[in-house]
Symmetry: C2
Subunit: 177 residues, 2 copies
């Protein structure tokens, strides 16, 4: 898919997925796009756990039975960030920027391949869910699961929630009041 | 440009730019890609100041005379994040994730249009540079300039710094030791 068409077609999808499978080869392409994202000083602080084993999927689903996409997706990608204490240069940490750039690359790759997804981070910030999912996936501390990306063929049309107009978000040379 | 080709062609470019101009229409396309990035709860916490006035560019350049790209680029985009205290839901803040996703969309758009760039954040974290650039661009506090993206036609070939192999970054269903 053409790049700008991909950007314009990506929408946060919160509905159910069909039971069409997601081939391993597509999951690899998606995660490779995540790996290709830039990271501060090329430290590559982001890792990925691809989940398509129904048993593991079901354990994650049990934590958020209200999230439709998570409960019907054929696969998901857990985005894992290094802990600040793992930084090669103590006191310097750009791990959030790194995993966010990788996540955005994967959301676009998911779109380009005809699937849908949504950046799922809030449910991990609640309770002890990040640690619980990390334990389920054997993620070693201090690394932390920061985002879950469901992957699947959407069963419903994607909705565009819209954006504020360009003139409210962008300025030329000086912030315009 | 095709999406995966765009992802594979994007490299952090730290060399000088040619004096080929960057038309306003291209800068708008790049920033529109940033606007289209997802943001938590669609709060749209990221703003953009497009800088192509040579006088303003020179003032920013004076802060980092050692950064080749910044000193030769025909335009740059200042990525501005809301302050945490501006969050619609106090205590909840995903502003870093938001501006990082927008920045990645713009880096890919810059690539798709045949230009080069590099995520420039470290120099803003040093000294009081973020505030100084913010003041130059009239960015109202508590919003903060977090990233500068130079935009231009690269004068030298782009280099791929490489990535750790897939098996070191990605795992299937469980973290493999």
């Amino acid at each position: 898919m053409e790049f700008f068409e991909t950007v314009n077609s990506r929408h946060s999808y919160r509905g159910p997925y069909t039971d069409a499978p997601v081939p391993d080869a597509d999951l690899v392409k998606i995660v490779e796009a995540g790996i290709k994202a830039p990271s501060a000083a090329n430290w590559q602080t982001t890792s990925f756990v691809i989940v398509n084993d129904p048993e593991v999927l079901n354990k994650i689903r049990a934590l958020a039975p209200d999230i439709k996409g998570l409960n019907t997706c054929q696969a998901l990608i857990a985005v894992v960030a290094d802990g600040p204490e793992e930084s090669p240069r103590p006191g310097l940490f750009f791990g959030v920027q790194d995993y966010a750039a990788a996540t955005e690359n994967m959301l676009l790759a998911i779109t380009a391949l005809g699937y849908a997804s949504v950046w799922t981070e809030g449910m991990l910030a609640r309770d002890d869910n990040a640690r619980t999912v990390g334990d389920l996936l054997d993620v070693p501390s201090p690394k932390k699961v920061r985002v879950l990306l469901p992957v699947g063929v959407p069963a419903e049309p994607l909705a565009d929630r819209g954006r504020k107009p360009f003139v409210e978000r962008a300025h030329w040379n000086h912030w315009s009041k």
